[in-house]
Amino acid sequence: MTINLNANVGSVLAKPEILTPKAGNAAGQKSDFANTIKAIEKHISKVDDLQSSSDMAIKDLLTGKSEDITSVISAVAKADMSFKLLVGVRNKLIEAYKQTMNMPL
């Protein structure tokens, strides 16, 4: 399950790089959208950290390195929660981008 989630993070990670230059071009000098994307990049790396730490916790549990199930639960719960938030924000962003692109000129 976590491997899939990480793969998703990877695919999401690729997105801002696609989005940022376009946003910069569209808005010119004063681009709030680009700043938003930058903030989201930071958030993505945070989410990625949580994902990898939950991954590590699961691995440690399965390999017998640690027997503390509760810490695994906490790591997984945090990773899950932050990832859901990230997906929610991403969907909103894509939607906003699409709406902007569909604007009749």
Partner: protein, 134 residues
């Protein structure tokens, strides 16, 4: 706490789970040693008790303060055939009362369940909040 406050309830609930698990461990030690006449120091097993403490002054998680021995008197039972019996035929038994341990076990189990319920409900709450994004 600052921005990361969203994880506060998780950390607290997890600390609860952790602590109740530890309590469970102490109870199991008490139950398992309910008739241990030799605990090493020439006296029977002494019942252990768990003290909880908060991590801070404000909203905070729970942790084990210390595990202290119950200093109440040992039980004395008449068993003249026992090799450990004294001149009057009495044997000192641990100061463990099984009914009390069973009671504590139920309390610990319920507390564990309560913390798990808090964790689950909080996750549901966050999901509800995220639903608003759609």
């Amino acid at each position: 706490m600052e921005v990361n406050n969203t994880f506060g309830p998780i950390d607290i609930a997890i600390s609860g789970l952790h602590t109740q698990g530890k309590w469970m461990e102490v109870i199991s030690s008490n139950v398992a040693n309910a008739r241990t006449t030799d605990a090493g120091k020439g006296e029977p097993y002494r019942r252990l008790e768990v003290m909880f403490k908060t991590e801070g002054e404000d909203i905070s998680s729970v942790s084990i303060d210390e595990i202290v021995p119950d200093m109440s008197d040992f039980h004395k039972i008449l068993d003249p055939g026992n090799p450990n019996a004294d001149a009057q035929g009495y044997v000192l038994m641990p100061n463990v009362n099984l009914p009390i341990e069973m009671m504590n076990l139920t309390v610990a189990k319920r507390a564990y369940q309560a913390n798990a319920a808090v964790l689950k409900r909080y996750q549901q709450m966050v999901e509800t909040a995220l639903e608003l994004l759609r």
